[in-house]
C-alpha cells in the first residue's frame, strides 16, 4: 500500500510537523502548547511516516528505539527536579536563570527540562504502542 501522493505529502509535512512540535514545546510556557501536545505531534508525524512508507521505514526514521525514549524521557523529567535538591530546596522546586538583559531577556528554567522529558516520554509511549501494534497486526506469512 504505497501512495505517491501520500509519500510526497509526507516528505513535505514531516519536517514542518517536527518543527511545529518543537515550537509548541518551547512556547508552551507563555502560549498554548507544551511538552505533552508537542510529543503527540511528533508521534503523529512518525505515525504518518509509517503509514506512508511502512513501519520499518518509520522505525528507521526515528533513529532510536521508542522504548529508549521512554526511559530517556522519564529520566529527564525526574532529573529536572534534582538541581533544586542540590541547592537545598524541596525536590522539583523550579530553578530559573535569566539569559540576556532587559526586555529581550529569556528566562530558562528546570520546568522546560521537565517539559522536554514529558515530550520525549510521550513520543516514546505512543510510538511504542503503535509500532508494536503494527508489528502484531501484520498478517502472518
Amino acid at each position: 500500500m504505497s501512495s505517491t501522493l501520500l509519500q510526497t505529502a509526507t516528505r513535505v509535512l514531516m519536517p514542518l510537523l517536527l518543527l511545529f512540535a518543537v515550537f509548541l514545546l518551547l512556547r508552551g510556557h507563555n502560549e498554548p502548547g507544551g511538552g505533552f501536545v508537542g510529543g503527540l505531534v511528533v508521534a503523529a508525524s512518525f505515525v504518518l511516516y509509517a503509514i506512508a512508507f511502512g513501519v520499518e521505514a518509520g522505525r528507521r526514521a526515528l533513529l532510536v528505539r521508542p522504548s529508549t525514549l521512554l526511559g530517556i524521557g522519564l529520566l529527564t523529567a525526574l532529573l529536572s527536579g534534582v538541581p533544586a535538591v542540590l541547592g537545598g530546596r524541596p525536590f522539583m522546586t523550579a530553578q530559573w536563570t535569566e539569559i540576556g538583559a532587559g526586555p529581550e531577556s529569556i528566562a530558562l528554567g528546570t520546568p522546560l527540562v521537565f517539559d522536554a522529558g514529558v515530550f520525549l516520554a510521550v513520543v516514546g509511549v505512543v510510538l511504542t504502542i503503535v509500532f508494536t501494534l503494527a508489528d502484531v497486526s501484520r498478517p502472518e506469512e
Partner: protein, 766 residues
Amino acid sequence: MSSSALAIAVVLSPFLALPLVGWLATRRDPAPVLLALVPGGLTAYFGYTYFRVAAHGPFVVARPWAPALNLSLSFYFDGLSTVFAVLIAFIGTLIVVYATRYLAGHEDRGRFFVTLFAFMGSMLGVVLSDNVIGLFVFWELTGFTSFLLIGFEHERPAARSAAMQALLVTSGGGLALLAAAILLMQSKGTASLATLLTTGGLASDPRYVPIVSLLLLAAFTKSAQFPFQFWLPNAMEAPTPVSAYLHSATMVKAGVYLVARMTPIAGGTMTWTGTIAVIAVITMTLGAVRALLETDLKRVLAYSTISALGILILLFGIGTPAAAAAGVVYLLAHACYKGALFLVAGAVEHETGTRDASSLGGLRQTMPATAAAAALAAASMAGIPLFFGFIAKEQFYGAVQLAGAGGAAIGVLIALAVVASTCLGAAGFIAGLAPFFARSQTTPSSHDAPAAMWLAPLGLGCIGVLLGIVPGLAAGPVSLATLAVTGTSSAVALVLWHGLNTTLVLSVVTLAGSVALFVVRDRLWQITWPVGLRTERVYSGVVSGLDRVSRRIAPALQSASLRSYVLTVIVTAVALVTTAVATGGVLPEPRRWTPVHFHEAVLALIVVAAAVSAVFARSTMAAVLSLGTVGYGVAVLYALFGAPDLAMTQFAVETLTVVIFVLVFYKLRGFGDLSSRLVKARDAAVAVAAGAVVMTLVLFVGASGTTSRLAGYFADAAPHLAHGLNVVNVILVDFRGFDTLGETTVLVTVAVGVRALLLIGREKRS
C-alpha cells in the same frame, strides 16, 4: 559536609557502595575480597563511636525530612546500639571474606553481594535508628533482603517457599511494628527513641496494651519465637554465609534488640515481663530439645539458635541490670560460637557435599584447621570453662536465680534453663565435634577448606577463648550496653571464678548432661517431634485458606473484561452522584440559557449525529471514523469556548486514537453482533443515564458560579512565581509538576505493559 551528615553517610555506606559492590564482586579473584573493606571500615567507625559514647554519653545525628509528620532520618548512638553495630559490622567482615570463597566462581555472585550489603545497611539502620518510623522501614528492609537471600537459589522450589514463608511471617510482624510506632507517636507526641527513653509513664496510657502486643508480635516473629519459630529452620535453604549472618548472628537478633530497646520504654509491668517470660521460656526449651532430634547440621544450629533467641529475649525482657548484663554477654558469646559453627557447617558441606551429622565423621584428618575452629566454637557453646560461652552461661544462671518471681516459678525457670542449656551444649557437640571427631562413616574429603573459609570461624573461636580467659575485656561494652538498657549504671563483674556456689553446680550438671546426651545422639535421632507442636501447620492452613478465598473472590472482581470494568465504573459514578444530588438538596438554580450561535448548534448536531452513527455502525471503519468525528467535534468546541491547550491536545489524541483503533480492529476481523438484545438494552440505559447525569451537573454547577480562589491565585502567581503566562502549562509543569511526573510514569508503565502483552500474545500464537 557537617559531621552529622557524615555520620549518616557512614551508616548508609553499605547502600551507597552497592554499585561498587556489584562491580567488584564479579571481578576475578582475589579482587572480591576487597569488599570486606566496607564492613571492616564500619567496624572501626562504630568502635570509634563506642568510645565516644563511653566518654561523652549517647548522641543523636539527625537530618529532618518531614518535621511536621515527625519524620526524620536520625540515628541514635548509645551503648546498646553501638555494641550491636560493631557486632553487625565485624561479623559482616568475616562473612564477606568467607563468602568470596564459598561462592567463588558462582555466576550470580554480584547479585549475592549486592543483596548482602543491602541487608547489612538495613540491619545497621534497625539498630541505630532513632526515629521509630525509620526503625520500621529498616526493619522491613531486613525482611525483604532476607527474602532475597533465602531465595538466592531461586530455581529450587524449596528455597522459594522458604523465602516466601520467612517474608510473610516477619513482614507481618513488621506491620505490627508500624502500628506500634504510630501508637507510640500518638501517645507520646514524639517519634524519637532517645526522647521516648527519657519520658516514662507509658504504662498508664490507654494504648499501652495494644502497643505492647504489637511490639511483642514484631519481636517474636522476627526472632522466631514460639509459635512463629518454624520459618527459621526452613530459612536454612539460604547459602550458608547467609544463615550464619542473617539467621544466627544479626537479623534474628532484631527482635532481641527491639525488646532490649523497648524494655525501658514499655517494660516494667507484668503485661510486658510476663508475656515475654512465658513465650521465651517455651521457645528456649522446645528449640533446644528439638535441636537434638535433627541430623542436618544447619537445622541443628537453627533450632539451637531459636532456643538462644528465647534466652536472650527472656533476659532482656526481665530487664534488671543483672539480666540485661547477662543478655549482652550471651549475645556476644552466641554471635561468636554460633556464627563460627554455621561457617564450619558450610565448609564441611563445601568439601564433602553433605551436612548430615549421622553420616559424617573423622574429618579432622583431612580438615584440621576447620576442625580446630569447630572444636573451639563447640566448647564455647557447651559452656566449658575458659571459653566465653562458660561466662555467658554463668551470667544467665545467675540472672535467672535473681529474676525475682515467686519460689515455685523460679524453680521451674531454673530447671528449664538447665534443660535448655544442656540440650544446647549437646547440639554444639553434634555440630562441632561429631563431623570431625566421631568414627569415620563416610569418605572424608581429600583436602581442607580454603583458608578464607576456616580463618573466619577460627577467628571467632579464638575470640571465644580470649574472652573466656580474660572476660574483663568484655566488661566495658557490657556495662555500657546495660546502662543503655536499664538506665542505671552498675559495674558488671565478669570473672572466671565466682567461687563454689549454686551457679557453678548448675554449670557442672549442664556440662555432664550435654556430654551424656551427645553420647546417645544416635538414639535421639530416632525420635520424631510431636505433631501437636508443629505450629507450621497453622501457617500452612492460613495461607492455603487465603489462597482459596482469593481464588473465589478474584474472578468476580477481576473479570478481565474491559466492558464490565467500564460498566462498573460508570454505574457506580452515576449511582453515587444521583444519590448525592437527590438527598443533598445541593442543586442551585439552573443555569440561565445563553443565546446559541448557529455554528455552535451545527457543531453540536454533528457531534450527536456522529455518536449515534458510531453506535449503529455496521462496519469497523465506520465506527472508528464516527468516534473520531465525535472527538474532533468536541475539540472544536474546546477551541470555541476558550480552551486552546485542551483543543490542541484533543486533536492530536483523536488522530492517534483513530490510527490505534484501526490497527487493533484490523486484527479483529469479525465485527459482529456480540451482545444479546437484553445486554444492549442495559448498556443503552446506562449510557443514557450517564449522559443525563453529566448534563445535569454541567447545567447546574456552571450556574452557581465559582467560589474557588485557585483560579485567581494561579493566574496571579504564574507570571512572577513561575515566569510563565500560560497558566495551564505552568500548573502542569511547575505548580503541580509532581502530579505530572506521576502521570508520565503511569504512561510509560502503560506503554511497557501494552508492548509486553502484545508480544506475549504473539509468542503464544507462533
